[in-house]
Amino acid sequence: MNYATSMMRILMLVGAAILVALPAFVPAYFLHLLIQILIWAFIYTAWSLMGRFGFVSFGHGAFMGLGAYIPALLWTFWDVTPWIGIPIAVAAAILLAVIVGYPCFARRVVGHYFALVTLALSQVVLLSLTAARDITGGSLGFTQKTVGHSWYALQFPEKSYFYFIALLLWLAGLLVWQRIDRGISREALEAIGEDEDAAAAVGIDVMYQKMRVTIISAALTALGGAIYGQYFMYLNPETVSGITVSLQIVFAAIAGGVYSMFGPSVGALLTLALTEGLRVWFGTEFIGAANTIYGILLVLCVIFLPQGVVGALQRMKPKRTPQPAKPAAVKP
């Protein structure tokens, strides 16, 4: 183990210690922000599992919507505990991913076409949730049945509980990212992202690899959506599904950078800090001001920083040891 990696370990341990100790020091408002950042960071990381290989899905709003709504509806109307509801939601997301993913991959729907098919998928979930207004309240949204502090209902008025749940979730997401990054399938997926025919010709099981990463990504996104729903209690189709959420996921992940483990998390941190900062700065009389600046920054980011913030920082860092060549790593 060389000096750099041991420094890295120490830094990570210090970071972990700070993250664990944080709830004891920061006020509730910042804890609330941190929880949101962690949940979104988890979802963005889940998206980047696909996005980094060029499978750009605009349909993750669909998986998040399923994840948020299924446990909430099951609990509110049928008294089913989220401990059962969340696995059902994840299973539903996997089922949806298979139903749409398999034919997509079998029929070679790629690039623009894949992005737009998945965009339609997220609209299908958004509009279905809105149309089922008898139980979901339509575009007015609905609030889950509250019972106060309960492990059974996975409801905690005390924010620090959700902070630790979100923290664990986020760490688990990073672990999954790392396993895929270090596994053999990363090479396979990069090859597929470059050229499917060539990848198939060298003996890569294109369908298996794509389905696997899609299922993992969809399942994690649904899980993130479920925790989001448990934390916020109030759900609205527009805030957990549809084109707006799908685009938000894509943008934040890309803004942070999808080729490094912390990239999507940095994206979550930056975008939330930005929107929240601008919101506080402009106050409520200028609704839209925050998102206007956000939109401009997105465009500038795509034009000038296509590798994302973390990617750009990494390129600036002087390289001490010769790095192994990274095929396809610069294709944003």
Partner: protein, 284 residues
């Protein structure tokens, strides 16, 4: 057959005319510039606001307001190309998609900032026609007629003029046209302006039927992409027919269930068809 169903279908086909106009604009831009404008429907939103303010606030006559709206949208189209598209022309397609997606965020929030989230109506009440005990919206009839005329004008422009020939040449082979003495950058700019103008025309027609608000683009945007992809991206004739198929599905679905579910049917139909014909319905 139920008379109300026929009525719904007629109104659906009439709406299809406006969608066809938007699909033409988006397909033109895709076929020539090779960029998908995710924010295309938001140009329509800008046009609708322009017409609303010119007509309802400043009291200009409606035809003049529409003309200025179309010209403004054309300028906006060219501006979007200059500022956002041309810097990313050589980037991977997904970056282009994202750049225009950022524009979508920007336009929607900027409109919210300027105008608030109120629904505004230009306040033109056109009569509802009664034809053989069926009610047909006059506004939709006009929109359908104007959209068809717009499509025909575009067709002759592309077929008969020098610029039109240059546009078609680029769509066929973008490598070789530079050697033929065609200035690609200029053609791209012209096409973006035409795309903007078509969005402006659609804005005039939609302003007669719908209230304008900052997020109205989200109502039409996804449907237009779906139509374009269904017809084959860049295939203008395909997009034209696909818009009527989709609007019929929406109309019939809306008749038997709710509006949202009719869109669910349309999107699901689209997803399934993409599996059957991944390059679009009309692409051989």
């Amino acid at each position: 057959m139920d008379i109300y169903l026929i009525e719904a279908m007629i109104n659906g086909i009439l709406l299809g005319g406006v969608l066809a106009l938007l699909a033409l604009g988006l397909n033109l831009i895709f076929g020539v510039v090779d960029v998908v404008w995710i924010s295309y429907a938001d140009i329509v939103m800008c046009g609708m606001y322009g017409i609303y303010f010119l007509y309802a606030q400043f009291g200009l006559p409606l035809p003049l307001a529409c003309l200025i709206g179309i010209a403004g949208s054309a300028c906006l189209g060219a501006l979007v190309h200059k500022l956002i598209i041309s810097p990313v022309l050589d980037s991977p397609p997904l970056n282009q998609l994202l750049a225009t997606g950022g524009l979508l965020f920007f336009l929607q929030s900027f409109a919210t900032l300027l105008f608030g989230t109120d629904f505004r109506n230009i306040g033109v009440r056109l009569p509802v026609l009664e034809i053989a005990t069926m009610y047909v919206s006059f506004a939709r009839l006009i929109a359908f007629g104007v959209a068809l005329v717009g499509a025909v004008v575009l067709y002759f422009f592309l077929k008969k003029t020098y610029t039109g020939a240059a546009i078609r040449a680029i769509a066929q082979d973008r490598e070789i046209v530079g050697l033929m003495g065609i200035d690609q950058r200029r053609v791209y700019l012209v096409v973006s302006a035409i795309g903007g103008a078509l969005a402006g025309l659609a804005a005039c027609l939609l302003a007669l039927q719908y209230d304008v608000h900052p997020f109205i683009g989200n109502t039409f945007g996804p449907v237009i992409f779906m139509i374009c992809v269904l017809g084959g991206l860049g295939n203008m004739l395909g997009g034209f027919f696909a818009s009527f198929i989709i609007s019929l599905i929406i109309a019939i679905g809306g008749y038997y269930s709710s509006t949202e579910l009719s869109y669910v049917f349309a999107f699901s139909f689209f997803i399934v068809l993409m599996f059957i014909r991944p390059r679009g319905l009309f692409t051989p």
